[in-house]
């Protein structure tokens, strides 16, 4: 065999080598390996599927987490509001007999209120799993629910509500509530209105995580809901109208609110 110029290839040696080597793996190994390959393929889509589903699973986890956090915030806010809601200020009493010493408004018209509150606070029901804003009363305020963002306004029984508020009014009321304009401690008696039998919207805790007790106070008093953005003249006009109609309690409540809102405005003598 003469040396070849190509030192890395030798066709003659290669031919001799191929002629003498025909060893093949045993058939049982073929079967074993092919079976293993098929098993791996059969199991493969699961792994690939897991990898592919990582993104949607992550998104779903984020969504669930977000909903849970929002729901918890709403629940906490609702609890805070419950105490306020059930206070005479925000839930003017219906014209039914109230037990002396009972600070809560009569729940006769809305017997499910305590249950709903209890259920919401129950440790057995994680806040994140409680369906948010379940109206417990049979007649929620549809206008507000339909026109306002659902995460902000929910129907709660036992609260005064405008029966047929326009969306603008609802929005204004919501702004009022979130701004915390309503002072619930001063005009409890004045706010009481016979219109309270219908369920009303309440401020949701989602109106702001940083909402203080002041902002959480349900200022949804129908008396001045539509005056939130109005100039002082409109307020005075409304006060005069109320007085003229003989609604002195409402007029007084409105005057109190007027003074709070417009401390620099002089109240006309005849309205004092």
């Amino acid at each position: 065999m003469t040396p070849r110029p190509d030192m890395e290839h030798d066709p003659q040696l290669a031919a001799i080598y191929r002629a003498g080597t025909a060893a093949e793996p045993p058939a049982r190994l073929d079967d074993t390996i092919r079976a293993a390959a098929r098993r791996a393929v059969a199991a493969g889509p699961r792994r690939a599927g897991v990898r592919r589903s990582m993104v949607p699973v992550s998104l779903a986890a984020v969504i669930v987490l977000s909903v849970t956090v929002v729901t918890m915030m709403r629940e906490q806010g609702a609890d805070r509001l419950d105490s306020t809601t059930l206070s005479p200020e925000t839930a003017p009493p219906a014209p039914v007999a109230v037990q002396p010493g009972d600070a809560r408004p009569p729940v006769v018209t809305a017997p499910k209120v305590p249950e709903a509150s209890t259920a919401r606070r129950s440790p057995a029901a994680p806040p994140g799993l409680v369906a948010p804003a379940e109206p417990a009363a049979p007649a929620p305020a549809p206008a507000l629910q339909a026109d306002s963002p659902p995460r902000r306004v929910t129907a709660e029984p036992g609260m005064a509500a405008p029966d047929s508020e326009s969306p603008a009014k609802a929005k204004a009321a919501e702004m009022t509530r979130s701004e915390g304009f309503a002072d619930t401690s001063r005009d409890n008696a004045a706010v009481r209105s016979p219109r309270r039998s219908a369920p009303a919207p309440m401020v949701d805790a989602a109106s702001g995580a940083g909402a203080s007790a002041k902002s959480a106070a349900p200022a949804g008093n129908a008396l001045w809901q539509d005056l939130v953005l109005a100039p002082p003249e409109k307020w005075l006009q409304r006060i005069a109208e109320l007085r003229h109609a003989g609604k002195t309690a409402d007029a007084a409540a409105l005057v109190a609110e007027f003074r709070r809102r417009f401390p620099g405005e002089e109240l006309p003598q005849d309205l004092r």
């Binding site: 065999m1 080598y17 390996i33 390959a37």
Partner: protein, 187 residues
Amino acid sequence: MPTDTDATDEALMLGYRDGDAAAFDLLYGRHKGGVYRYLLRQCRNAALADELFQDVWMNLIRARASYTVQAKFSTYLYRIAHNRLMDQFRRDDCGVSLDDESAPIDEPVAPRSTEPEPGTVAREQAAQLLALLDALPDEQRAAFVLQQEGGLSIEEIAVATGVTRETAKSRLRYALAKLRQGMQAWQ
């Protein structure tokens, strides 16, 4: 989707990675003999070769999900085989011979003086070559067998065995030189 029998090894491996079991069958059919013979030549033990052979393909199956085309498939496959062999050598402490390019070349086996049948000559030539091959240092033998069985180039042999191109080239040259010298009597 039927597997294309003319597809490249790389395409078949990608197909298998994506769940085409038929692609693996084709791939296996193409390379099983070469890999098996490479292992058999290197460990010189049929039972051990069987075990190593199965391990190599199992490793390939396990690694399929992370397979990307970065080199020829055969280079990738023989790299797995080489690594498995090295693991076995270390475990058995049989010691892979160092770059023993200066190892003496076996004396060539003289052909028979009587006139043999043509088929017999070919078989005897092959037997002589295999005997010479067994006498080579492991690295040189590996370089030669990888070239013959896997069709690997010098660069691919270097990648498969984890050495530089020059080292792989040197090993192959030494192997060929020794084999040629040993086969001179048959010329």
